[in-house]
Assembly symmetry: C2
Homo-oligomer: 193 residues x 2
DNA sequence: GTCTATAAATAGATAGAC
DNA sequence: GTCTATCTATTTATAGAC
């Protein structure tokens, strides 16, 4: 039921998602959905909470681990990528919420999102204190990591479409992207640029 | 009428957009929309074509200009940013289409999107031939530039929401982002990393 | 070209039997 | 907990007068 809802919201967005379709895909009666959740919006909110809570926790775990700052940067990138890979609905929903101005995000979710940025900022701060990093605006590092990851993992359908229409493959694999982003982030933070 | 439609599609997505609302915002009768466009989908398609054609042309103009490759990279970034800044509906619609797998993009639009990537690839190629750049996967450079730009310019509403909920400002201005992306791209291409 | 009125389908949500 | 049936609102789209 939740899985069906996640897929439907990812595929069509909140407005486009149909409770009838969710019920059909989950092989349950539509009335059952309203028995468990008070409304379509409430169901969506629960999915958003699960999603961002999981990401927030993972980012926090990386920031609080005992690795050197440079390794933490790599682990941060891998954590977001792993989350995007394991939950295919996550990147599309994330992209749609950005586009919509976060209309459906409640205070809990906004805290989790803030937490991700703060976790990254804490890693950078630690690196600066230890003399490993030069100070760079964490928001810029964040957007340079998270935006490509979300776009990449959220654009599977579009990339297939483009390739079917003749864009030469140039297939970028997740490991190659992760390695690329690590190079970008560390290149900036370790001042090799 | 087109402007109202662009705003509505950007705000609510294709499924969420209402022809009634577009008509009201444009101060025209709803029947007039169906007089000029055969359907809601056709209206949306025209907006998508305008949008991607404009971006494709700008990217192509940069690639075909007579600047040194390193300057072209900067101009490419500025061109996408200028387009995103001048057309506020562009980034949200772009993000939504990515999330939706490009369902509404016809062959014309797919060609324009391909063209943007190819323009960037041509710039990189030129730099490599002239011994200025090391060879890097153009798709990786592309996603490192375009994803942050679309996310940044498309997330104005979300960022306002986050700041209202207490995320410390760290306001990133468009010029700072552009300079940052130039450093990222040239750092990779000029092999300083 | 511009309008009113309305058709036809689908949406979210609920009442009430079991 | 689970189902059928249904209410109400909204949607895209069109017919037809002017």
């Amino acid at each position: 039921m939740r899985v069906a809802a996640q897929a439907e919201f990812a595929k069509r967005g909140f407005a486009g998602a149909s409770v009838d379709k969710i019920a059909a895909a989950a092989h349950v009666n539509k009335a059952m959905i309203y028995y468990h959740f008070s409304s379509k919006a409430a169901l969506y909110r629960e999915i958003l909470r699960d999603m961002f809570q999981a990401v927030g926790r993972r980012a926090r775990a990386v920031a609080e681990s005992n690795e050197p700052p440079a390794d933490k940067i790599g682990l941060f990138i891998e954590a977001i990528a792993a989350e995007a890979d394991a939950r295919p609905h996550f990147p599309p929903i994330w992209l749609r919420e950005v586009a919509e101005g976060g209309t459906h995000l409640d205070a809990t979710v906004l805290r989790d999102i803030t937490g991700v940025v703060q976790s990254l900022a804490a890693i950078i701060d630690e690196g600066v204190r230890r003399g490993r990093f030069t100070r760079v605006n964490p928001v810029l590092i964040h957007v340079s990591i998270v935006a490509p990851l979300m776009i990449h993992f959220g654009s599977r359908g579009l990339r297939e479409r483009l390739e079917r229409h003749g864009l030469r493959g140039a297939g970028t694999t997740p490991p190659a992207l992760i390695e690329h982003l690590r190079r970008v982030a560390l290149g900036l933070l370790e001042g090799r640029t």
